[in-house]
C-alpha cells in the first residue's frame, strides 16, 4: 500500500502547491457537498450578486448525492459522482476561491486551466466505495437548497477521508499519465 498523508481542509495555497498528482491523502475537516443543481444555483447567485450559500474561499466541494442515513449513521452511502457534469460551472467557482474538489472521472481542459490559474486540486475518491467513505463522515449539517433533496448543499465533517490527488495545480492529471504506462499496444 502507498503511504497516505493527512491533510486539513479548508486549504491555503501553500498546501495546494505541496500536493502532487498521485499522492494518497486522508482528508480531515469540513467539506461542502454540491452536485449539478446546486452548482447551477451558486452560479446564478454569483451572477446576480446575491449572497452565496457559503464562502467558497479555501473550501473543498465534494460531488456527492448521498443516500438517506440509516439508524446509527450520520449519513447513508456517500460515494463520489461523475465530476464532468460540474465542469461548465467549475471555473467560476475556482475564481471565487474554491481550492479543492472531490469526485470521480475526468475534467475538462477549461477546468484544468482554471485550476492552474487559481491554484486548486482535484481529489479522486473511489467511485462505488460509498459505504466505506460514509464511515469517514462524522458530522452532517444542512447548509442550503434543502428543496433539492439529495442534491442539497450540506457540510460534512470528515475524518481520514481517503482520496487520491488526481489533478494537481501544476496541471498533472493521473487520468492522462497513468493508463499509458500500463497500455499494451
Amino acid at each position: 500500500m502507498i503511504e497516505a498523508m493527512e491533510i486539513k481542509v479548508p486549504m491555503d495555497d501553500d498546501l495546494v502547491m505541496r500536493l502532487k498528482a498521485g499522492d494518497r491523502v486522508f482528508i480531515n475537516g469540513d467539506v461542502y457537498t454540491a452536485r449539478d443543481a446546486a452548482h447551477k444555483r451558486i452560479i446564478q447567485a454569483a451572477e446576480s450578486k446575491e449572497p452565496l450559500p457559503f464562502d467558497l474561499k479555501g473550501q473543498v466541494i465534494y460531488y456527492v448525492g448521498p443516500a438517506p442515513a440509516p439508524p446509527g449513521w450520520v449519513v447513508g452511502a456517500a460515494g463520489p459522482t461523475t465530476s464532468g457534469r460540474m465542469d461548465p460551472y467549475t471555473p467560476t467557482l475556482l475564481k471565487l476561491g474554491l481550492k479543492g474538489m472531490i469526485g470521480k472521472g475526468k475534467r475538462s481542459q477549461e477546468v484544468k486551466k482554471a485550476m492552474k490559474k487559481y491554484k486548486a486540486v482535484y481529489f479522486g475518491a473511489v467511485g462505488g466505495a460509498a459505504a466505506l467513505l460514509a464511515k469517514s463522515i462524522v458530522r452532517v449539517e444542512k447548509v442550503a437548497y434543502e428543496d433539492l433533496g439529495p442534491e442539497a448543499i450540506m457540510k460534512f465533517t470528515v475524518r481520514n477521508f481517503p482520496a487520491i490527488v488526481v489533478i494537481d495545480a501544476y496541471g498533472n492529471d493521473l487520468y492522462e499519465t497513468e493508463p499509458p504506462k500500463y497500455r499494451k499496444a
Binding site: 494518497r24 438517506p68 473511489v126 467511485g127 467513505l133 439529495p150 493508463p179 499509458p180 500500463y182
Partner: protein
C-alpha cells in the same frame, strides 16, 4: 395443463427482498474476481489500493446492510412468466412498483427517478416507476431478476448499427472504443454486456441481461466465447485500471449474447456496468 395461480403480492414481496439484497451485498462471483485482481493480476500500486477499497466497501455494505453505492440506480426488473401462470390480486406492474418503493424506503436507498426526463425532472420520491421487461416462457413459475442500475456506468453505454461488412472486427472495435471512451467514468473494473443482432431495442435488451450473467461464465457457442475472451483481453490491455487511474485490470468480465438478425445490419449494444454490478434473482 393446470393453470397455477400466483398472487401478485408474492411478486411484490420478492421484488422488495431482491432489491434489498442486491443493493447491499455483491455477488460472490464478483467479489472473488475482485480479490483475484487485487492479489494476482493488478500491477499498479494505486490500482491495488483502489481494489482494496472496493473490497472493504463490499464487506462493510454486506455486514452493516447499507447500500454499497449511493447511486442505488433505476430499478430494472426482468420477469420471465410461465405461460401456465395466472397472476391474480391486481396488476403485476403495480406490485413490482410497490416492492421497489418498499425496498428503497426500508433500505435507506437513494431515490433517483425523475418523473419527466426533460422538463420538470421532479423526483418521484419512490424510485419508481421500475423498468420492467416481461417475457412469456414455458412452465408455471415466475423468475424475477432485479438489477439496480447506476447511471455513472449506464451513461457510458452505447449502441451502433453496424453494416454486415463491418463484421467481427467492427464489433470488436466498437466495443473496445466504447470502453476506452468511458475511461474512469463507469467506476472500473467494469462488467460489460454486449448484445449482437436482432433489432435496435432487442440488442440493447440482451446486452442489459448479459451483465447479470455470472462472472466467469462463457457464451455456449465457442465462437462467441472466443470473441468474449479476445475483447476482454483487448480491454484489459488499454491500461484504464481500477478507478481509471491506470493498471492492468479494467474489466471483470465481458459477456456477449446474440440473436438472429437481418440481412442488412448488425446492431451492437454495449451496456456498461460498474464493479457494483448488482443483481439478484429468485424463481417462485
Amino acid at each position: 395443463m393446470r393453470v397455477r395461480e400466483i398472487h401478485v403480492g408474492m411478486i411484490e414481496d420478492a421484488v422488495k427482498a431482491l432489491f434489498l439484497k442486491a443493493n447491499t451485498s455483491i455477488g460472490q462471483d464478483i467479489y472473488n474476481a475482485l480479490l483475484d485482481m487485487r492479489d494476482k493480476y493488478e500491477k499498479s500500486p494505486l490500482g491495488k489500493d483502489v481494489l482494496d477499497q472496493i473490497l472493504k466497501n463490499h464487506d462493510i455494505a454486506r455486514d452493516k446492510g447499507i447500500a454499497m453505492c449511493q447511486d442505488t440506480g433505476m430499478a430494472v426488473v426482468f420477469l420471465d412468466i410461465g405461460q401456465d401462470v395466472h397472476l391474480v390480486g391486481g396488476l403485476v406492474e403495480d406490485a413490482v412498483n410497490r416492492g421497489v418503493k418498499a425496498a428503497y424506503d426500508e433500505g435507506y436507498f437513494r431515490k433517483s427517478v425523475v418523473d419527466d426526463p426533460l422538463f420538470e425532472r421532479k423526483n418521484t420520491q419512490t424510485n419508481t416507476p421500475a423498468v420492467i421487461h416481461t417475457k412469456i416462457v414455458k412452465g408455471d413459475r415466475v423468475r424475477i431478476l432485479a438489477m439496480p442500475k447506476g447511471f455513472g456506468s449506464e451513461n457510458m453505454s452505447a449502441l451502433k448499427m453496424l453494416t454486415p461488412a463491418a463484421g467481427v472486427e467492427g464489433v470488436k472495435d466498437f466495443v473496445v472504443k466504447t470502453v476506452m471512451d468511458a475511461g474512469p467514468n463507469p467506476c472500473p473494473p467494469t462488467v460489460i454486456g454486449v448484445g449482437i443482432g436482432g433489432t435496435m431495442e432487442q440488442a440493447a435488451l440482451i446486452a442489459k441481461r448479459a451483465t447479470a450473467r455470472p462472472v466467469g461464465s462463457s457464451n455456449e457457442d465457442p465462437r462467441y466465447a472466443q470473441l468474449e475472451r479476445e475483447i476482454l483481453e483487448r480491454i484489459n490491455s488499454l491500461g484504464i485500471g481500477p478507478g481509471g487511474l491506470g493498471g492492468t485490470t479494467s474489466c471483470l468480465a465481458l459477456h456477449i449474447e446474440y440473436v438472429p438478425g437481418h440481412l442488412a445490419g448488425i446492431p451492437v449494444a454495449v451496456n456498461v456496468c460498474c464493479h457494483a454490478c448488482r443483481h439478484a434473482e429468485v424463481t417462485i
